[in-house]
């Protein structure tokens, strides 16, 4: 797995949400969950051709999808924020991959800081780290995803795994990964995963 560059805490809503098919009216884009920036408040530029494609898929659908059918606004996508997940860096990396002349299969990873506007308590911090991995190739299946995750967790000593259907705006199918914690004597969520939507 090759490491992706993630050295930008400041991200635009476009890469953090819109490019990941998270609708502009989604609750996670609320003031309560995301740190929006006062200064610089807006991104200087969005990738022009790509932004138009994203707008169309949200508003009308495309690539086989019905879309969300609402008015997509560029001003909303311009809003700067502190990234809420490193998936925005994955989106940028995949965009760069798409612009390569010839497609090459890749495996990317990153481990970096993310920010969520939450009150601090025993299990929540406003900034924490996420480990992220992406595999891009032809003919990948859900079984491959599960196998890769199992290998990953086995290396860390976690072997009892179960997969549960979940929902992310940008992946379908999505799975939450649960592992049995001997100490707590119950199944706890150790990860989230999915196959990116076409």
């Amino acid at each position: 797995f090759t490491e992706m560059p993630t050295d930008n805490f400041v991200e635009s809503s476009f890469w953090n949400f819109d490019a990941l098919f998270q609708p502009q009216q989604h609750p996670a884009r609320d003031q309560h969950d995301t740190f929006f920036l006062q200064d610089p408040a807006e991104a200087v530029e969005l990738p022009p051709g790509y932004a138009a494609k994203v707008k169309k898929v949200h508003a009308q659908g495309g690539y086989g999808s019905q879309g969300y059918k609402y008015d997509w606004r560029a001003e909303e996508a311009r809003k700067n924020l502190l990234r809420t997940h490193t998936t925005s860096a994955s989106a940028r990396a995949l965009y760069r991959l798409a612009r390569q002349e010839k497609f090459t299969p890749v495996k990317y990873f990153s481990i970096d800081r993310v920010f969520r506007n939450e009150s601090l308590d025993a299990t929540h911090l406003a900034e924490f780290h996420q480990v992220e991995g992406v595999v891009a190739d032809r003919g990948l299946t859900l079984g491959h995803l599960m196998g890769t995750l199992r290998q990953f967790f086995t290396k860390m000593g976690i072997t009892q795994l179960r997969f549960k259907p979940a929902y992310n705006p940008y992946t379908e199918p999505s799975m939450e990964v649960f592992s049995y914690h001997e100490g707590l004597k119950k199944w706890v969520e150790v990860g989230n995963s999915g196959v990116f939507r076409p």
Binding site: V10, V106, T141, M146, E172, P173, M175
Partner: protein
């Protein structure tokens, strides 16, 4: 994830069997739900308000079930039961029918053009001959609230109103009027109020005050009247008392008004599909004609059944299983997506019901097939993708430096990237505008107002929290700082900084200088001016005058080192001398 609270015994009664808690948890897991909590009303009150207030509260066991955010059809007991029963193949998928009344007999909702400025869209439907019990009624109200909170975005996009059809007479008019001209008795009140008075009345209401702002400053407020001038409701605030529903109501008029027509249609479809179960003719909904200002009409609810064709091999391929087309059809039908094999057995036609507005692409269908198959039944394989691994050079350098710095006797710290404005400016003797810092618009506390432009405050705060540790305290951190940069597409960028702090009875400038020399030695940067590094005496507002130097390397200034000014030390609540080194390591990658 929205949480639905259902009474356990009612749930089991509707499901036709009882489960142990573990069995039900397992069922939820399979289906994609999460049994979050098993509690009772009494326990909830005890937790929130204390033992004393819980007297007389119900002991009935409540299941709190977490439902995926895109499944509006699972937000009430009726929907959950239906979904689970079809999943377990105990019932067949109901067919939702739209009944178009004979001309002249159906209800009409007329929209006037005044609504365009404030709340342009409206849809409506009728539930005929419905029978309510206390539980069904509570569930009906709960579903409206859940939908309001989720898809309706707290009533901003769509607001729902339900009315007793027998207390009013159509045709109904949805219009907008000046607040002073609207007068009616709101739900559960004893007298009539004008709209402006209603705004004041509910300003302190813990539930409704959050919605007042949606129409408060508009010149015209939305309002729905019946043929005799009786007010049905003033969306999105409150319904009229006259048309309120009770347990004896037999015919319900459902209306949804809002600013997003797609969501309004989905919300209407969900409400009528869920509760038409209790109509005399189950799963049938009477249509209402909506007349637009330009004269065009449209019949609602849409209750659209959409058909999509997906090839079985695609489903098998994407999941990594190999099922026959007919078994795939069966799996999908279990997920409320009625399917059949067509063509020569090499294609599947899937019918997407109005309750599954979340299915917008073939991949949604593929996911449902996988869920029905059982995620944990899929064979796990590793992709044959052959790639060569690489570490990002900047991170590789960081990792190497960290080890060597620890070997030099310094302890690593990991601190927050967000801090207060004072931390990076006033406490260091600088002005905030000179720092080019990134400011946050909505911090929850003052501790998270800006993103740090220097690692120093974090380390100093760490020392302050560890005053009781033996001296000297030698800390370092290699991490990102954030500054504004007009050359990037977002307007800011990260720089990887390295900062070391030495805190002891004597400042130890020579120690921090020695550390710099050691770091340069490891980085193989010679100590000369042409192609290496040098330090020159400099001034810094955070530093002791005459004890500060700037580090130059690779043709640019990369940072500073020196002894901290006593003011800085005091402002961070420290008492001893402190020497500091901070450089940007990106030029050395």
């Amino acid at each position: 994830m929205p949480t639905v609270s259902v009474k356990r015994d009612l749930l089991f009664q509707a499901l036709g069997r009882t489960y142990t808690d573990e069995e039900f948890d397992e069922l939820c897991f399979e289906f994609g739900l999460e049994l979050d909590e098993i509690t009772s009303e009494k326990e909830i009150i005890i937790k929130e308000k204390g033992e004393g207030r819980a007297k007389g509260a119900s002991d009935t066991v409540l299941y709190k079930i977490d439902v995926p955010a895109n499944r509006y059809d699972l937000l009430c007991l009726e929907g959950l039961v239906r979904g689970l029963q079809v999943f377990k193949e105990r019932i067949n998928l109901p067919r939702y029918e739209k009944i178009i009344p004979a001309p002249g007999e159906g209800q009409k909702l007329i929209i006037t053009e005044e609504t365009v400025q404030v709340r342009p869209h409206a849809v409506a439907a009728v539930l005929r001959n419905i029978t309510f019990t206390k539980e069904r009624y509570d569930s009906f109200i709960d579903l409206q609230e859940k939908l309001h909170q989720n898809i309706c975005r707290k009533r901003a996009l769509v607001a729902i109103g339900t009315h007793d059809l027998d207390t009013m007479s159509g045709p109904f008019t949805f219009t907008a009027k000046a607040p002073s001209k609207i007068k009616f008795k709101p739900l559960n009140q004893t007298q009539e109020y004008t709209a402006s008075q209603i705004m004041d009345l509910y300003r302190t209401d813990s539930h409704l005050r959050h919605y007042l702002h949606l129409i408060e400053n508009k010149p015209l407020y939305p309002v729905i009247y019946d043929n005799n001038g009786v007010v049905l409701s003033m969306p999105p605030i409150i319904n009229g008392d006259h048309t309120k529903i009770n347990l004896n109501t037999r015919n319900v008029f459902v209306e949804c008004t809002g600013t997003d027509i797609t969501k309004a249609k989905i919300v209407l479809d969900i409400i009528v599909t869920m509760f038409s179960e209790y109509c005399e003719k189950p799963f049938s909904v009477e249509a209402v004609e909506v007349v637009y200002p330009n004269g065009k009409t449209h019949v609602y609810p849409e209750l659209a059944y959409r058909k999509e064709k997906v090839k079985p091999e695609l489903i098998n391929k994407k999941i990594g299983i190999s099922e026959t087309p007919s078994s795939l059809a069966k799996l999908l039908t279990r997920m409320c997506l009625k399917s059949q094999v067509i063509g020569n057995g090499n294609n599947l036609e899937i019918e997407i019901p109005p309750t599954r507005a979340d299915v917008i692409h073939a991949c949604d269908i593929i996911e449902d097939a996988a869920i029905a198959y059982g995620y944990n039944n899929i064979q796990m394989t590793v992709p044959k993708t052959y790639t060569i691994a690489n570490q990002l050079p900047l991170n590789k350098l960081t990792e190497l430096l960290r080890l060597d710095l620890a070997a030099a006797g310094f302890t690593e710290a990991l601190t927050f990237a967000l801090c207060s404005q004072e931390d990076i400016a006033d406490k260091l003797g600088m002005d905030i505008s000179a720092t080019k810092a990134v400011h946050i618009a909505n911090p929850k506390t003052a501790e998270f107002q800006v993103a740090r432009t220097t690692l120093l405050p974090g380390l100093l705060k760490t020392i302050a929290a560890n005053r009781k540790m033996p001296l000297p305290l030698k800390l370092f951190e290699i991490s990102d700082i954030v500054v504004k940069d007009p050359n990037t597409d977002v307007g800011a960028r990260n720089y990887r900084h390295f900062c070391a702090v030495y805190y002891n009875k004597s400042p130890g400038f020579e120690i921090i200088h020695g550390l710099l020399d050691r770091v340069m030695q490891i980085l193989e940067v010679p100590p000369n001016e042409e192609n290496g590094y040098t330090i020159k005496a400099a001034e810094g507002s955070a530093f002791f005058p005459g004890r500060c130097a700037e580090v130059f390397a690779k043709g640019q200034s990369v940072g500073k080192l020196g002894v901290l000014h006593p003011d800085v030390i005091t402002k961070f609540e420290l008492t001893m001398p402190c020497s500091v080194l901070e450089i940007n390591i990106e030029p050395f990658v």
